[in-house]
Symmetry: D2
């Protein structure tokens, strides 16, 4: 019987940490003995538990230990983190440690070193000052660690392997703002939306007051549904610092600015215009002719719309390419790995991300964000919202509603309607 | 080879009548010869066609004739309509003619007699003054005809059988209001909704101006989503004359009026209240204690909400029972056949029906309405809207949007926001 | 500060009982002090906790106590249950206790008396042998208690009020069959369905071996999708003892048996037949003519199909009416309260219920079942499955898949394919 | 009043050509006069019509003419096609003609020259032998024309502008196989699927017999749902010549081949394995280590699965990149414009495309296919199927069903189950 002892601290019971740990052990075929437990008498008191975990198979025990580590369980016996050199560019060493989106530290030279830029499905890169491979006891005076994507690894990079010497801080269940938990517990269409949208407005005001960037991820339905002018107002009012979208959102926004239609449908009358389905091609061609959106704004070719507002108000935007694109617009990053890098760089500082009516870009962005960034996901399709909320941390608010009314209500709550 | 000659009149080509007739013939394995055709040169000119239809099987030919009759094709040789007596209560005679929801006439005593109350899936009852069975040449001086449901038939009733002597007026494709066709062509979430809702407001004003009743069919999501007070305003402003709903809508409306929650969720704060899931039971029990909604309003027990507004403003309502009901409320008609009768009676005069967030009641009501009644179907689920629009005539507007924003926008468009 | 002490026993932590209790207290604005806690060291050891609950408002404290009672928390100070007489037929007394679907007992004459027929949203009726109102100390030698629906209450019935002297046994999270928890955790379309369906087959075999009835709840898509003959095989093989459905399932089944179509679509060729949309009316009329399904089977008018198989194999069925019904068939119970009573009676003995492609009947049935009855919910719409699983106990397996393939795979797994 | 005369030939009425033309004129505010019409008496006889179209605004008339041209209406007065030189790389000249996916010809030097590779949302490039700009009367002895995408245009390319001298052959409504029209008419879940899938099998056999490639477009749900081994059988049996997918399908296929899971879920037991969510990263890393899928198959690292079968049986595949990708696999084309080019090249010869459980790749592929290529679209989400069918020609069959059962039934119909 292989065994290991772990310890847990924090709000073990009301934050579901202990139940989750026990559940993980048992569902993976292990067994446990609670050797010591001290439960805080009052809500604010922390608890403590010491648990022996056992499994007849050593390899399974390792998997269990790694899994419970993600719920905050820490082995009693600390070991130094291990690394191995990347065998070639773009390839992790065998047994590389795959990250979560939680705050993570590594035990190095007798200290816990925080891992920069928490992001899921990455490796951990140790920087200069450390001996790379297999060394148990490094000096590492100024060693630093950060997440790194597979595509960005260089041959010889010191990458963390195995799961020793790694500590993860689980997110405790949010309780204080009860409405928040309510929102996440059940993504339903049958909710009084005003309350939820009011909360989103409150979060936005906090971020703006703190001068932290707010990240928006939007799909073309924002334009089709007539919400473009409302998003423009948000940009002008300083509630949008970063915008992630695809070729389609920008193309239809410009189509609307130049020709008054979105996907050929007149935005004023709501009806298709003759041959209007060509309009987005003509809008894209016009941008390509002058060299891009920035040039079009400078030359006065493009005078309204979301993209124009982004240029004028200094909003950073990434237009990421996809195989559905027509054109595409000159600003579109057609290399998807490059587009991810651009998105990753711009998303780092945001503590609030609002995702509207786009599954592809929302999931891609969600994968990059640390668990501590709050995410608001808005879509008229319940399945789309559920998909994002399910992946996510406890920080995700899902709102199933129509796009254009969402923006209008949001503006009213922000007092700029 | 069995043959028959039919004639068509009207906007045969631009209203798709002729294409549909030819398609029907061929898809059922028949063949045709267009013996004469005169196509109107200008849009407003009517056309005429005379078509020989043939099929090697007499029974199939009969089926084809009946099918093309529903597109307006009329046999050249007129025959008197035939009837047979109902064999027992609640049973149609063999080969009874099953109606559509189109305007229909029967050929009786050498005249075309209109059938009252067009409704699909019914039989046609001939009233006194006619000989019932098999008689080709009746006097029928004051003969009348009306649709009748299977459950309402009495033994001996003269019911139309076969398909001779029946004429159906197809609805010509609506063209004039182009936006209308646009709406029906494609039930999509990605539309500028403002334009569609503006059209609904316009239709509502026309009906109110003409003093015709507007029929509403609503599901409980109207309450859950916080739209109850908005519907109350519509009632007060005279835009609701008839309301069809189930026990749930009324129970949650009353729960909201008495206890401030809908399905236990506080309407002010958007969060569940402790033990709130019992609240609808307590609301229903309170109504049963005083004898019903009307008594509760009279005694001052119930002072706000949709049901209260209905009582105060004289709105006719039908609460139809279902097997999901708790209680139910005293006003609920628990016998479904009786509920259908009550709905049928109240829906007859409406030329506009607005159905929001309820598939069961919407389909049930849609089945009762003649094709000439315009239907607006609103739901956040695209599939629900599609289902109603697919069944329906060309008169249905489908809007895929969130319930509460729909009401808010509608009130703004009506100037009572 | 109002206070009360409660005790908890069982698998408090791994079954989430304690976390839920603490969460309930805090989310309702109360606070707690854990006065004593003993956590079992090994998975099989029970735990114990004694918790002081406090709230500054007495009424809120009562609500919290009732809520935690549903998670198994029992007040330390036992009080006798109280009753009040029903004020009139069909009306509960004020402050009636509203039941859950969990096993419940009442404290009466110093003993815990189990409440028969656990069913949610009901009252509790005490039967003869007890003094009804306000009496703290009754003899109650042979007192019994059972759930009763609001509609079934008679004036003077002794109905439990308040929440003293009531004990609820929460369902502990199922762990043992791990796949089971997996299923419920995430109702997804992207699952290897074979494994789930294999589990359903295993449950069915167990029930048949134990000679317990299996309850099926089916919608008309079973017929439309061509699964009718597969369900017939299940009936013949003894895997169906009770069937709940509506008029539509039976009508289209009979349409298929008599005319070879379902909703007018040929089941052999998958294409609409000429005038086929009338066929269900003719099928219903044929049943009404002979007096009903049973007579039709006896007279040889109806020789195949699900309903025929039900009659021949003695399957109890309830066809519950709805306002969408045509006809309806003579066996349809058009009074919804009566239909509920018939369903309630037949569903009592089932420990396994399989619900396929019908939201209305599934929810209605789910509301009647005790939490201990396992429910399998199958639908191609994820939202429908989620809705049922969300309401339900931990006993619900949701499978998002197509109806006909579900039946085919199930038959293969049962070895009768 | 601006006027123009057009002519129409073919099955004007039963193929809906004439109705569509008249509807287009009127819905765009024009009016018409049918100057001559000859309707074929029998189904096989062609018809002819000569129609004067008028609009008070010249520009609107031009738009109407272009729109009716897409329904096959040809101006009586033929003019030579015009071109203009592309102003710079990747930019069309002003007023470029935007293509449909229909067979198109241009009138050049007194002859109709067919446009190669019909594809929507493209321009038309004229090749050597023609004078490029504004010339009405060119020699153009061996001039050729083909579609070209905006991104592929080079400065100076002769691109067709305006809409003179262009002829489009509309697709006539399919009638003969009636079931086909049935399928497209209504994308419903409630259909006997066996018949539809049988038709797909028949089409596949025809293509294989004719030695034409069959194009498959698949999403990762094929793997998650356990259909991978079934698709392998189709590959081995010669029913797959081209496969379009993304990084996810290949990664999970390889994860399954190497580690037995898909997205961490054991394919044998249907339950998540401990830390299994990392498995796809490890699978991708393993491929990157050896240099790619092809090398992995050659070296015996990869021995089963879809991708392995593709390599072994010479199936051409394109793995197109997206911003959701982890890794990605070495074979993934991360530049989306390059990926489109690769897909375009491989899709040209296919006359049958089968798209399963992927909206992004299906829409991207659908945009490239000529209207004459038949498309089968399979998804458990009705909305996804509808979206594809709506865009498409009359050649699209939509099947709403579960992925794995679709494959199993298909194999049975093909006799390789």
């Amino acid at each position: 019987m292989a065994e290991e002892i772990v310890e847990l601290k924090g709000h073990l019971i009301d934050s579901l940490i202990l139940p989750r740990v026990l559940d993980t052990i048992m569902s993976h075929g292990g067994c446990f003995e609670i050797q010591r437990i001290k439960v805080g008498a009052r809500p604010e008191d922390p608890s403590f538990a010491r648990i022996l975990i056992a499994h007849k198979d050593r390899r399974h025990l390792e998997a269990i230990l790694k899994a419970v580590m993600h719920h905050g369980a820490e082995p009693v016996e600390r070991e130094e983190v291990r690394t191995a050199p990347a065998p070639r560019d773009g390839v992790f060493p065998e047994r590389f440690y795959a990250t979560t989106n939680l705050d993570t530290s590594i035990y190095l030279g007798g200290h816990w070193v925080p891992v920069q830029n928490p992001e899921m499905d990455s490796g951990i890169l140790l920087s200069a000052g450390t001996r790379s491979s297999g060394s148990r006891r490094g000096p590492a005076a100024r060693a630093t660690a950060r997440t790194i994507k597979m595509a960005d690894v260089k041959k010889g990079h010191a990458i963390v392997v195995g799961d020793k010497g790694i500590r993860v801080v689980p997110i405790e269940t949010q309780r204080a703002p009860r409405d928040f938990e309510f929102m996440i517990s059940d993504v339903s269409t049958e909710k009084p939306k005003g309350v939820l949208i009011g909360n989103v407005a409150r979060l936005m005001k906090e971020e703006r007051a703190a001068r932290r960037p707010i990240l928006w991820v939007c799909g073309p339905a924002v334009i089709h549904s007539g919400a473009g002018p409302l998003l423009e107002k948000l940009i002008a009012a300083g509630f949008v610092q970063v915008l992630f979208a695809g070729n389609a959102l920008a193309a239809h926004d410009i189509e609307c600015a130049l020709l008054g239609t979105s996907l050929g449908v007149s935005m004023r009358e709501g009806v298709p215009t003759p041959m209007g389905h060509e309009n987005h091609l003509r809008a894209i061609n016009a941008m390509r002719r002058v060299g891009g959106i920035h040039q079009a704004v400078r030359q006065g070719v493009l005078r309204t719309g979301i993209m124009c507002a982004c240029v004028r108000h200094g909003v950073d935007f990434v237009l990421a390419g996809s195989i559905r694109d027509d054109g595409p617009l000159p600003e579109v990053i057609t290399n998807t790995v490059e587009a991810q890098r651009a998105m990753r760089r711009l998303s780092r500082k945001a503590r609030l991300a609002i995702m509207v009516a786009t599954l592809l870009h929302s999931v891609a962005t969600g994968n990059m964000l640390p668990a501590s960034t709050r995410v608001v996901s808005v879509d008229i399709q319940q399945a789309a919202v559920t998909k994002l909320v399910d992946r996510g941390s406890f920080q995700t608010i899902g709102i199933v509603t129509d796009v254009q009314p969402f923006f209008r209500e949001l503006l009213l709550e922000l007092g700029i309607g």
